[in-house]
């Protein structure tokens, strides 16, 4: 293709983005747009899958049958989200196996929040309330993203996530209204999950090199800092409502800005976890790799069986 022709296609592409047209898998797109989307959607899919681990950790120990069933359903939903996100990424010309390979080699990332341990039952409440709450804010913004399959997956995922978030909050509410031990358990979970939840929105805008391009292509519709502020403004009153204290001494309503001011985030911790030195990075990757390796013979057998069946029906036909 001539350079002139490419320029022309690029211009048409930019115009479509500006018009808020959805880009579909078979449409022409700049290579960088394709790559950026593969990176982001697969990272999102991996987060769903790795995110099953800290919650799965409490399935066998959930405190009541009702909670156990709800948690199973929730973790199953996360697996389902992983499935449709992998499918959305596959439309861009990468296979699920390749993406999983990239996760296992460390080339692809997943949300750092899942590198924190779920140590008490209240963590299941906190993860639903805060982690899913933060995820929804990110994902609602993505429902309007320019790439069609991703935007449609997000619409569906957001509905389920908001259910999870309410469920998580309801766990916290029950604990907060419970015995002193239960209340302490809830407060402790909030103390541990608050700051990592704020980090879920990514580095500050000035330290986020991908933001400008992502905004231009409407892969992102709001900046990291805008989304983080929205999360804080939404979550602080929820904590107050159930009489839990957000662990930030600098947190204060700012009448003038119409937002909460908040204290400094420990970005050293953020980068440490991103770089693989969080409390559970090693365990999460080991769990994923060993599930994959232990399942290799199962996947091979399923393929072999499908081949045999296909050959049999071919022989019958001929």
């Amino acid at each position: 293709m001539s350079e002139e022709k490419i320029k022309d296609l690029e211009n048409q592409f930019e115009e479509r983005i500006a018009r808020d047209d959805k880009i579909e898998p078979k449409d022409w797109m700049p290579e960088k747009y394709r790559k950026t989307h593969i990176r982001q959607i697969s990272q999102h899919a991996h987060s769903e899958i790795v995110g099953m681990l800290p919650e799965g950790n409490w399935i066998t120990r959930a405190p009541s049958l009702r909670r156990k069933v709800a948690l199973l359903a929730k973790v199953q939903d996360e697996g389902g989200h992983g499935l449709y996100l992998y499918s959305a990424a596959e439309t861009l010309g990468i296979s699920r196996d390749e993406m999983i390979e990239q996760l296992h080699s460390g080339k692809a990332k997943y949300s750092s929040i899942f590198n924190y341990p779920s140590v008490t039952w209240a963590d299941i409440g906190a993860i639903g309330w805060l982690v899913d709450g933060a995820a929804i804010i990110n994902q609602v913004a993505l429902c309007g993203t320019s790439f069609g399959p991703y935007a449609r997956a997000m619409v569906r995922i957001c509905k389920e996530e908001s259910f999870h978030q309410r469920q998580g909050y309801e766990i916290m509410l029950t604990l907060a209204n419970g015995t002193p031990e239960q209340k302490a358990m809830a407060q402790d979970a909030l103390n541990r999950w608050w700051w990592p939840s704020l980090m879920m929105f990514g580095p500050r805008d000035e330290d986020s090199p991908n933001t400008a391009l992502s905004m231009k292509w409407k892969l992102k519709r709001k900046t990291n800092d805008e989304l983080r502020q929205q999360f804080i403004d939404q979550t602080v009153p929820q904590a107050e409502l159930i009489d839990l204290k957000v662990p930030d001494p600098d947190l204060k309503w700012n009448e003038e800005r119409g937002h909460y001011d908040f204290g400094p985030i420990d970005w050293d911790e953020f980068w440490q976890v991103v770089k693989g030195h969080g409390p559970c990075n090693r365990e999460r990757m080991e769990a994923r790799r060993s599930a994959w390796e232990n399942g290799a013979w199962v996947r091979e057998a399923a393929m072999a069986h499908a081949d045999k069946k296909a050959k049999k029906s071919l022989n019958k036909a001929s």
């Binding site: 799965g56 120990r61 405190p63 199953q76 499935l83 091979e300 057998a301």
Partner: protein
């Protein structure tokens, strides 16, 4: 009568509870996403059934106990599940074989329980059988895939079936409570189901390129509360919160 009915409900439901618990251990660790989701889904169905049974059992006893008291607060000897469902998740061949052996029984059992003169039990059975017919389709499909897949998968499946087969017969054992309730037209006379089970299992196994093991000595004890050494650990997980923080709402 009340005590017999209570015990009989436990016999049915405890199998679902413990198998659901075993499958719950797998969440996030399956060979691929689809099987991971399917196993979680089966666990979810089984635990949903458990809730219906225990809620009914609590209603039968009329002494203020709840579904959670029944699920979490009994001692090991009071659980009535068979030994089969407590067997560990050794590998995917064991998981599928255990599931298949249970699903086939469960399906045949519920088909009969639908005709129980106890209307609550027949209603739970009618609702559950739809789920269980799906479970059986899933596990029997995987029996075929793995039995007729590669040399390795065939070997692993045969090994799993050989290890687990001695546990099938206990599914059909009839307790004293069961005997009393068969007379009332409430419980299922499982004696009559064993032949169907064996015929059906033989066909499935043949199609899956697997041999039905010849077993002389069968394992039992679970139904009378004498479990394997695995059971204590299953309960340690299951009961952890209720034991560590008794008498609280969750």
């Amino acid at each position: 009568m009340k005590e017999n009915l209570y015990q009989y409900i436990l016999e049915i439901a405890d199998n679902c509870l413990i198998l659901g618990q075993r499958l719950g251990e797998l969440c996030g660790h399956g060979p691929n996403l689809e099987t991971d989701i399917a196993c979680t889904n089966i666990s979810l169905d089984l635990l949903g059934q458990v809730r219906s049974y225990y809620q009914y059992a609590a209603q039968v006893m009329e002494d203020g106990r709840t579904e959670d008291d029944i699920a979490f607060m009994r001692m090991e000897r009071e659980y009535r599940n068979t030994l089969l469902v407590e067997q560990p998740n050794t590998d995917f061949a064991f998981i599928i074989s255990r599931q298949f052996m249970f699903d086939l029984y469960h399906y045949l059992f519920l088909k009969e329980l639908q005709h129980s003169r106890d209307l609550s039990l027949s209603a739970i059975a009618s609702k559950s059988i739809k789920e269980v017919s799906y479970h059986l389709r899933f596990s029997s499909d995987w029996m075929k895939r793995l039995g007729d897949g590669t040399e390795e998968s065939q070997r692993r499946m045969q090994a799993a079936i050989n290890t687990l087969w001695p546990y099938f017969e206990e599914l059909f054992e009839i307790s004293d409570a069961g005997k009393a309730l068969i007379k009332e037209g409430i419980a299922v006379d499982t004696k009559g189901l064993k032949k169907d089970y064996l015929n059906s299992a033989r066909e499935y196994l043949q199609e899956a390129n697997l041999i039905m093991p010849e077993v002389e000595h069968f394992m039992k004890g679970g139904k009378s509360g004498v479990h394997s050494e695995h059971m204590g650990y299953i309960l340690a997980d299951l009961q952890y919160m209720q034991r560590a923080y008794p008498n609280m709402n969750w």
